[in-house]
């Protein structure tokens, strides 16, 4: 099943913007509304767009199932390892051991309303990113599995 050239071109143009906007939502999860789950879902929407506009075989060249599976597993592992890191700093599992400590994402935050600094939040941006790539991988794999039945009609 293939759409007209207009639809295909529009989908191709929009695909990178979907990814960039999803990444923006993920990365700014601790400053603006959104977060890992929402941003990952936005990124996976790009795949759905491509799958609707093009044939399945066209898409698999650009989005590989294996890479997406790896993404998913990596996201969950990142979440777990970041949580376990707290145990080595005298905190509980998933305790926020990076917050306000000066290191990675450890800038001090001004209390009250402020413009927002990307390098604050400690563990939260890391976990957001882990969840983001997990949701991206997971939803994309589901989409690829479920829509793999759509093949071009032979005449």
């Amino acid at each position: 099943m293939k759409m007209t050239k207009i639809v295909r071109t529009t989908a191709d143009l929009f695909f990178p913007f979907c990814l960039v906007f999803g990444l923006y939502v993920v990365v700014h999860g601790h400053l603006t509304p959104g977060g890992g789950f929402q941003g990952g879902a936005v990124m996976a929407t790009g795949t759905a767009l491509l799958l609707v506009a093009r044939a399945y075989d066209d898409v698999t060249g650009r989005i590989r199932k294996g890479a997406m599976k790896a993404c998913e597993a990596t996201g969950l592992m990142l979440f777990l390892l970041a949580g376990l890191g707290g145990l080595f700093h005298g905190r509980a599992f998933l305790g926020n051991w990076l917050a306000q400590a000066g290191g990675l994402f450890g800038n001090r935050v001004e209390l009250g309303a402020n413009a927002g600094d990307l390098y604050t939040g400690g563990l939260i941006p890391l976990l957001n990113f882990g969840v983001g790539i997990e949701v991206l991988g997971g939803l994309t794999v589901i989409l690829l599995y479920m829509l793999s039945g759509i093949k071009e009609e032979k005449k």
Binding site: L31, F37, L94, G130, V131, G138, M146, S148
Partner: protein, 94 residues
């Protein structure tokens, strides 16, 4: 006739729901200790401006880990259900 009856039942059902919902106290919770604590301390304790994310990923991080695991398991299940059968392989209960 059936349509009229169906519409009447729908109207009664949603009318009743609306009637019940009108009296609910909304935006005025009885116990606000927890909300006040989060609103006052979330930024100082986690360093995140977004209080919702601070709660989801910091105060209730373990809950989010469960959520992520649920998604992982769901993807595993879908992958198992939609896998390609090997040559000559049959489902057991066919």
């Amino acid at each position: 006739m059936r349509n009229v009856l169906f519409s009447a039942i729908l109207l009664l059902f949603f009318g009743g729901l609306t009637y019940l919902a009108v009296d609910l106290p909304f935006g005025a919770p009885r116990a606000t200790d927890m909300d006040d604590y989060f609103i006052r301390n979330a930024q100082a304790q986690t360093g995140a401006n977004n209080v919702v994310t601070a709660i989801v990923f910091d105060f209730r991080g373990f809950d989010t880990l469960g959520e992520a695991t649920v998604l992982f398991t769901a993807v595993l299940g879908v992958g198992m259900m939609f896998r390609k059968l090997k040559e000559g392989e049959e489902y057991e209960n066919d």
